[in-house]
Point group: C2
Chain length 329, copies 2
């Protein structure tokens, strides 16, 4: 069986040059390249490893782009996505975009080059055109990219509604909605904004008795968030109910109450959002709107693989959320 040294000898070049042609590395003139290819063909040089990848059609790899896998929500999502991808014999290439346009663009190029079979997009700052030109099956998570790209999300509107209903039931009258923080400013396409709409709708039914104030956090650093919330609560001492747009934000509100010696839930009731493990770990355990992360992940993988197989899938995929009452309400 012919070897790389035979190719080099036949082509009249060094083994290093053949290797460079094979690996497509370094500068090789077109003439040299042709000579090497001709030699390979002449002596029928075809290692098995090559032959195998020659007709390999499938990479069985899915690309996942998230803002930051160390965020509790995305770490649990990533865990479940990998779990269900593995069950279907797919591997997961993980990309953290840090919500940076350039890094996102770079990752999309990289995923195309590496021939992933599909992409799960959990981060989105780029213009939609970049995704439509991807020419790859894609599922968007929690972000409406375009009418032509399937999106999986939980019922954010219902989540907001459940939160307002509970605060009203608990007789809160001076209510705040606190959002932003981790992950920076919300993109307009972020479906999580529906949380606020649902919450507002619930509050409106009692608008004669209830005052609502909204507060956007300007930082994503925990200590600064606690300080920002503390200041907010000092300026607004009568607030007796808060809906936070994430469990992380809710945890910083608990810390602010601890500093200000406000009793939870007696002085102030708090509802978080996401239902990640963090909500069970903090003290007191957090009342929260729980997203069905396991089911959302299973559905995302299913929709992506069905597209990879050439099937058409529905564009809007909405799963219900649920209220989990714990120690903060």
């Amino acid at each position: 069986m012919p070897k790389i040294t035979d190719v080099a000898h036949k082509a009249g070049v060094s083994v290093t040059t053949v290797s460079r042609v094979l690996n497509n590395r370094g500068y090789i003139s077109e003439a040299t390249r042709d000579k090497v290819y001709k030699a390979m063909k002449d002596i029928n040089y075809q290692p098995n490893e090559l032959a195998r990848s020659l007709y390999r059609r499938k990479s069985n790899t899915i690309g996942l782009i998230v803002p930051n896998v160390s965020h509790p929500f995305f770490s649990e999502l990533t865990y479940y996505l990998e779990h269900f991808a593995h069950k279907k014999h797919y591997k997961l290439l993980l990309c953290n975009s840090n919500r940076d346009v350039n890094k996102e663009k770079e990752y999309i190029e990289l995923l195309k080059q590496n021939q992933v079979e599909g992409v799960i997009m959990g981060s989105q700052v780029l213009e939609v055109e970049n995704y439509l030109n991807l020419n790859l099956p894609i599922v968007s998570f929690d972000r409406a990219l375009s009418k032509n790209i399937p999106v999986v999300t939980s019922d954010n509107y219902l989540g907001g509604k459940l939160a307002s209903d509970l605060l009203i039931k608990k007789k809160c009258e001076d209510i705040a909605y606190i959002y932003g923080g981790i992950g920076g400013p919300h993109h307009t396409a972020l479906l999580a904004n529906d949380r606020y709409q649902g919450f507002l709708e619930g509050i409106k039914t009692r608008k004669d008795q209830i005052s609502l104030i909204t507060k956007e956090l300007n930082t994503s650093e925990i200590e600064s968030m606690v300080e920002e919330v503390s200041e907010f609560l000092k300026i607004n001492p009568t607030i007796d109910g808060i809906f936070a747009s994430s469990d992380i934000i809710a945890s910083t509100i608990i810390q602010a109450c601890y500093r200000l010696k406000k009793a939870i839930p007696d002085d102030l009731k708090i509802i978080g959002y996401d239902g990640v493990e963090l909500s069970t770990v903090i003290t007191p355990p957090l009342t929260t709107i729980s997203q069905p992360l396991e089911k959302l992940s299973e559905l995302t993988i299913d929709l992506l693989i069905r597209q990879i197989k050439g099937e058409k899938v529905p564009f809007n995929n909405l799963l219900p959320v649920s209220l989990v009452e714990r120690g903060t309400t």
Copy 2:
């Protein structure tokens, strides 16, 4: 030399379709794909692009095996590993082993098949032989696999020592070490066991005045851990200082104190381990032994890539830890 148009003509499909098959993009039925491959073979079509990927040996991909990326420690580790891999133009294939021997074995096979260039092993239940047979550059994280496999870890012994020194300084006399929990029973190779040895060494200097009791948690479920710790504290009501082997365990101790109405730090002082973001999010914020996760990750990637390039690297790579005092001591 045959062209892509010849393939299209021979297969009776459009050039776009041939291109899609070659690039493994878009929706192509199995039948069409077969037709195109047959045409390519019949007319001996070998495009440069294909030849390129054919002969390309480098995948620029690193395989990462962790027990569970949703655990705060591993999610932050994964974030930093991806960050530094990306900086060196490597991608990360993520595998969650769930500490399951079969899944770990399956992943190792899969990583070999997919020709990752190296493996980072953050989970290890398999026999060492399986890793020695891997024939791939490997770096073990926090687990001593064998004398022949480089390991990156933080100074667990020092961490334990710092914890005992602080509890002694804070005049604790009835001390407990609580470990286990999340992730199940510790494997003997787990270097984290050194934490206990360092802690013990510190306690020994005052053994005439201090009593030490160790408690292994038998569950990895948060609510059960809180119950187990509560029971333990009820049976041992005089305990005034606890060193927990992780921040997660420390957070369940805080919850148990909340239930039993023990004041932190007045009645009971608590020190965690890891220094993950969770330690800043819980109330009161946790005093903890902080592992230098960013530096550990950078070193891990560096050692792996140096091995991929054929360099020899040191086997023992130990980075210092630091004490971060917050509200629980």
